[in-house]
Amino acid sequence: MIRTVLALSVLSAAPVQADVSRAVTDHILPGFAQFATHAEALSATAAADCTPAAVQPAYQAAFDAWLGVANLHIGPSETGALSIAYWPDDRAFTPRALTALIADPASRDPATFAEVSIAARGLFALDMLLYDPAFAGYAAGDATCTLVQVVSADLAAQATALDAAWRDAFAAVLTSAGAPGNATYMTGDEALRALYTQLLTGLTFDADMRLARPLGTFDQPRPRMAEAWRSGRPLRNVVLSVKAAQGLAHALTDTDLPLTDAAVARVEVAASRIDDPAFQTVTDPQARLLVDVLHQRVAAVEVAIDTEIGGALGIAAGFNALDGD
């Protein structure tokens, strides 16, 4: 009997059920907890030895963990994500802000560091301090070394606060959607649409920002427009972001997602063919082609999710932060 029901349900393509609670419990909250753990480890590492060689591995691990939740821009992350990962920086605010902080000891007081420009905070400040030749030549005891400690401690504090804000407050806002008194999400569908929008927007960010920017045009590729190219992360960021989207997609629905999984597998194959994880060789037509293929594969994941989740649930994405210019 059970078997018959299952068979029938597969054949009749049973309606997909969304599960916002599961997405929160199984995907989002563990993601923030993991990021907080790694950010704290980074801060502890820097406190013990702030030289680049010592801090770089912990920075890489913290950045990896961030990508698990970086696609979320609602609730505490609406503003919180901006001071953890300020990028792109087309007007070069980050090097200018860091230079000013290095020159003025009072300006890098840990007690007030949460008020400094987001261009000098978070992962991209560390990308530059730890990897850019203009900054990374420092030794223990130098002002820059102290700044690395301050930025790392501030990042850990942000990660901890974000973790707590999601766990203790915003998770309930999502999971109680439609309940009396929930003015943010008046129906279950609104919470679902909010998470679905994050999912698709993250993939759009991968395609339009992380990949299309360094690709530039065939005649003019722009390697320096790759994300965190100094720390060699452009390819890794794309792959981890896509995997995070896949994870959220699965947590959000109760059915198999064969198109989505196949599309993500194609992303991984395309990624494995790219030799330079920093995308700095996109100036070479052959190398650029491989990144271009990856770009198309990522766009296909977006379409797969649109079909398997958006189509099945009858929801369209809402407005997102990339809607502006």
Binding site: E78, T79, L82, S83, Y86, P88, D89, D90, R91, A92, F93, R96, T112, E115, V116, S117, I118, A119, T184, M186, D189, E190, R193, T197, L200, T201, T204, D208, G216, T217, Q220, R224, M225, L259, A262, A263, A300, V303, A304, D306, T307, G310, G311, G314, I315, A316, A317, G318, F319, N320, A321, L322, D323, G324, D325
Partner: protein
Amino acid sequence: MNTVLPAVGAMALTLTLAAPASAQVTPDQIVATYADIAAAKYADSLTTAQTLQAAVAALTADPSQETLVAARTAWLAARVPYQQTEVYRFGNPIVDDWEGRVNAWPLDEGLIDYVDASYGGPTDANQFAALNVIASPQITLAGQVVDASTITPALIADTLNEADGIETNVARGYHAIEFLLWGQDLNGTGPGAGERPFTDYVAGDACTGGNCDRRAAYLTAATTLLVTDLEEMATAWATDGAARTAVTANPDAGLIAMLTGMGSLSYGEQAGERMRLGLMLNDPEEEHDCFSDNTHNSHYYDGLGVQNAYLGRYVRTDGSVIEGASLSDLVAAADPALDAEMTGKLDTTMTALGAIVTAAEGGFAYDMMLEQGNAEGEALVMAGVDGLIDQTRTIERITTTLGLDQIAFEGSDSLDDPTAVFQ
């Protein structure tokens, strides 16, 4: 990613709204009002730009403090109707494709003219951030030597603007003109705007900043371009214009364009890019009208444009009123509480943006609000941001209630033929 976007089948509205009848407005009436208001706003933008053009001619013919101030005043007046048109972006491809010519921002102004040493030079993203065309009769772009000995509208439009494919190489539009009238604001987050002296336009030995004749030629050419560009858009919304036809030919598509414009401007553009980001960067250059310190007004009139689009009512620069069937009427017929929620949130936003204007007019300029650790400024700016984010949620709710999300959905390529994209 634009979301609620185009691609439309008909239906839904009639289905959704068939029940609560009585003197009900119809989508075609609503988009007609929307197009009429657009025509009036772009016509007002054009006439105020023509006034600016006359003031620029007077300044370059006879540079003085008076003629400079008159030109600045004309620029400020021209911003009032234009900012109210920004709600037509995002939802209308004809406007969106054109907009970069008139209101591109932020800009690396060193491309155009002299800048302070603190500005720095070329950046990761832009090799030409400090090109200074006004001082350079001959320039090299992407390996090509360019004759810039005469500064013409064509040189600005075809060669300089977005030079090297970089968006911050803004050579034309309101903000390029603003820079030429005010100069850099070197007061940081302290009081004061740009202080370009009128002598930057004086011929002969009294010329300051060098190349006064070329600066005047640049200002004249950029203003000419602005007028030409606005003529184009005013025509596009006039009777039988392409932008008008695009929204009136399929009224449901027109409604989607309206809501897409309202939501995208409110959230991604104004709340995110223009207001919150600048606040979090604590950088006075991250304000929309950074040379003139007119940002409070730009934000206010952007917000007012969103409200206009919903209420179907616009007060022209001459004081006359254009109004008609509105989205508000349509939503009220479908769900009165939702209409009350939307009008209430738009009011809340306008009150918050109005408070920023009041503070700025009282001497607490927008760039001062961005100062690191300035709690009062942060509270003022974030109240506007919060209002804009909150109203976006209701705009989404309206899209769903009117069934427009499903219409947008049915037109998406991936759903029409999901297998096509995997081939």
